[in-house]
């Protein structure tokens, strides 16, 4: 049991894809204008990650070594297509907001990286928890960054006004440069926090 909890903990803390490994940064910067979009993107990527991890783990003994990468890509692309269609059908507004970044989950190095480094070698249950852990880590990072930007850029979180009328939003945080600056500041904070926690 503890191995599974370790997997999830590792995904969120030690090997957090965004804060520690700096993987899959395109959606991290691209969709984090609002906390809701960050959450939606994080959950969509988590779903693809879990499904592809499980499927690749099931077939890990049948996939020939030499052509494994194209196979991984096809598996991931199929799940991305499914998630894209599900979002378009049930959350059309969110789907429009995320735009090109939903299909771009397919080229997210984080997902291919987990398939190659973990799912193609480990049993199914472990691959599931690994996908869940890494996906949650990604979601936490996205929501943290998006909330940070939304507070500074609009004075709201999840569309709830928390700063009141006295606060004058910093428009630049809602614009593209704000994404880079906010991620820089957040990475600094996380570095300090992790140093306190003793994770290096």
């Amino acid at each position: 049991m503890s191995a599974y909890i370790q997997d999830i903990r590792r995904g969120i803390l030690d090997e957090n894809p965004v804060f520690r490994l700096l993987l899959g940064l395109c959606p991290v910067l691209g969709v984090t204008g609002f906390a809701m979009n960050g959450l939606g993107m994080g959950l969509a990527a988590t779903m693809v990650l879990i499904c592809s991890n499980v499927v690749i783990s099931i077939f890990r003994n049948f996939i020939p070594k030499t052509i494994r990468v194209p196979i991984f890509i096809v598996v991931i692309a199929s799940f991305v297509t499914m998630v894209d269609m599900l979002l378009a059908a049930f959350q059309p507004e969110l789907h429009d907001q995320l735009g090109v970044f939903v299909p771009l989950i397919v080229v997210n190095c984080m997902i291919l990286g987990r398939a190659e480094a973990f799912a193609s070698k480990k049993p199914i249950a472990r691959s599931f928890t690994d996908g869940l852990g890494i996906g949650l880590g990604f979601t936490v990072a996205l929501v943290a960054l998006a909330a940070f930007r939304e507070i500074l850029g609009h004075g709201t979180v999840f569309d709830i006004d928390i700063t009141g009328a006295a606060f004058d939003p910093m428009g630049v945080m809602a614009l593209p440069p704000g994404a880079f600056l906010a991620l820089g500041i957040l990475l600094y904070g996380v570095n300090l926090l992790f140093r306190k926690l003793g994770i290096e």
Binding site: G30, T81, A179, Y188
Partner: protein, 196 residues
């Protein structure tokens, strides 16, 4: 398509809607290979080459294969497969035809498969904007040049920052992000200069 429109597209996609600094595509190579000027130039050339060919091929596939047969739902799977095999093909051909160029670009080509700049630009031009054929090619070249400018600027800055003593907690990635933010802020000055 008139001359003016071509110039407008070139200007917009190099400066105003810069692929990296404005649309957040291709951040991985932007962060990953911007340590040294030589690698940045190599990567830029490889992207310019692959992006043009990739958009050309995906445009043909989308407009002559997927759309007539109502197979648009296959766009993600087909585009990524086309791009991945294209990169392989280009690599093999280059090794035979021009070993010198292969020496220069060789190591960057496999990396391009998971470069979201290529896939993102293809999706933007072919399916979202629905550009005509010639416009798509101009778009591809302009986007790749915009990517190259951002990457090379970044490499020039990072080469100078390499030996700087950083305070505790400020890692290289923090510096990279803030630098990118300032670059992006500078590029925002082009907003509204040209409209289509």
């Amino acid at each position: 398509m008139g001359f003016e429109e071509i110039m407008a597209i070139i200007f917009i996609y190099i400066f105003v809607e810069n692929l990296v600094l404005n649309q957040f595509l291709g951040i991985c190579p932007f962060v990953g290979v911007s340590r040294k000027m030589e690698t940045a130039i190599g990567m830029s050339m490889a992207v310019l080459f692959v992006m043009t060919v990739a958009i050309l091929v995906t445009w043909l596939i989308y407009n002559y294969l997927l759309e007539p047969f109502n197979l648009q739902f296959l766009e993600i799977v087909s585009f990524i497969l086309v791009i991945a095999s294209l990169v392989q093909l280009v690599e093999i051909m280059m090794r035979k035809i021009s070993p010198a160029l292969y020496q220069g670009l060789g190591i960057f080509l496999p990396l391009i498969t998971t470069n979201c700049a290529i896939m993102g630009a293809a999706l933007l031009a072919v399916t979202q904007e629905g550009f005509p054929f010639l416009t798509s090619i101009v778009f591809a070249i302009a986007s790749a040049v915009g990517f190259a400018i951002a990457l090379i600027l970044m490499a020039a800055i990072r080469e100078r920052m390499e030996l700087v003593d950083l305070p505790r907690g400020i890692s290289n990635s923090v510096v990279t992000m803030v630098t990118a933010g300032l670059l992006s802020l500078a590029f925002m000055g082009f907003e509204g200069v040209v409209t289509l």
